[in-house]
């Protein structure tokens, strides 16, 4: 009877000790996990911080000193009473209209820095290629939408694509005929 009661006590004690160890272990792991989570959060904040972003941007700018050129392929659609099958617009007129709308939207400084120039324009197809500096891509496309008329004729300028070289731009233009 006595032997039975002592064995029961030992079993209860071992159970208690084991549960205590399990609790301690879980607390230890919890603390460790929290510290890791904190560290991860701090790391994420550090990555997103303005200073780091500015530093990365500066490194990126240093690496690529040269601002790349791009070529935009576009099409001009015309509409009006004076428009017939022999009607066509001059390249210089289209270029001036696009530059005018760009200047109205973003100013003269942005226009001169963007390096916009008409490289090729086909009077027959009313399609052309325009050169510009790569950072001004969205500005130029926005300006295309802002063009209302060329020489008193209502027009719609549609961007067809952007290319890195003039050769590819011209080949794309030929494919899109």
């Amino acid at each position: 009877m006595v032997v039975g009661s002592t064995s029961l006590i030992t079993i209860v004690l071992t159970c208690l000790v084991l549960s205590l160890v399990a609790i301690l272990l879980s607390i230890f792991l919890l603390i460790k996990y929290l510290s890791i989570a904190d560290r991860l959060r701090m790391f994420a904040v550090a990555i997103n911080s303005k200073a780091v972003r500015r530093f990365l941007k500066a490194v990126e700018e240093k690496r690529s000193k040269r601002i790349r050129k791009r070529y935009l392929i576009f099409e001009v659609l015309v509409y009006g009473n004076e428009v017939n099958q022999w009607f066509s617009l001059k390249g210089s007129e289209v270029e001036n209209a696009i530059k005018k709308s760009f200047r109205e939207l973003f100013g003269s400084l942005a226009l001169s820095r963007s390096g916009i120039a008409l490289v090729y324009f086909s009077d027959r197809d009313m399609k052309g290629v325009m050169r510009f500096k790569a950072p001004y891509r969205t500005k130029l496309i926005t300006a295309l939408g802002y063009v209302k008329e060329v020489n008193g004729v209502r027009v719609l300028v549609i961007p067809l694509g952007i290319s890195g070289t003039l050769k590819k731009a011209l080949s794309k233009l030929r494919l899109k005929k």
């Binding site: 509409y79 500005k139 926005t142 295309l144 939408g145 209502r154 961007p159």
Partner: protein, 177 residues
């Protein structure tokens, strides 16, 4: 131009032509007027002043979209934008109206509040050309570029012309892709 679906005001039923689905659309700032409209029509609530947002609890079950007119761009306050957020409906922005406001030299502060709400992910934006004639249509690339220039993130700008309008149109069950 790359459009798959065009919503046209005053159309009686949906028409598929040259691979483009034309869907009828009804724009009004009168809720009763929109209630009487058939279920397959895209119902758009036009907001031209903050007073139009007073009856907003009713709107959720009636309309699919809330459209902001050019007048609203300069009169919207953060409070009204919060009201639009609680409404939970996508906001339609006509780019032609933005050009109009820019051309007139009016303040775009209301639009700035809207853009910050879109950037925080609390508001869904749909951008459209807002064309009333054929030559007023804008290419989707022009729309996204304009949104980027207005301060919208590139991902959100692309969503505004692709997935968000697609979800709204799918809700009308016209069998579109």
């Amino acid at each position: 131009m790359g459009y798959r679906v065009i919503c046209v005001e005053g159309l009686s039923r949906s028409i598929a032509h040259n691979g483009i689905l034309f869907i009828p659309r009804k724009t009004s700032n009168n809720i009763n007027d929109l209630l009487r409209t058939k279920h397959h029509v895209l119902k758009v609530y036009l907001v031209s002043s903050p007073n139009d947002l007073k009856s907003y609890p009713k709107l959720r079950s009636i309309v699919a979209l809330v459209c902001l007119s050019s007048k609203a761009f300069s009169v919207l306050t953060p409070k009204h934008v919060e009201r639009l957020i609680t409404l939970g409906l996508p906001i339609e922005l006509a780019i032609r109206d933005v050009y109009k406001v820019v051309n007139e030299g009016r303040n775009l502060k209301g639009l700035d509040y809207l853009v910050s709400a879109v950037e925080s992910g609390r508001l869904r934006l749909i951008a459209c050309s807002g064309a009333s004639t054929y030559l007023e249509l804008l290419h989707p690339k022009v729309i996204t570029s304009t949104l980027i220039e207005l301060g919208v993130d590139e991902v959100n700008a692309l969503k505004a012309v692709t997935s968000t309008p697609a979800k709204v149109i799918r809700g009308l069950r016209h069998g579109g892709r």
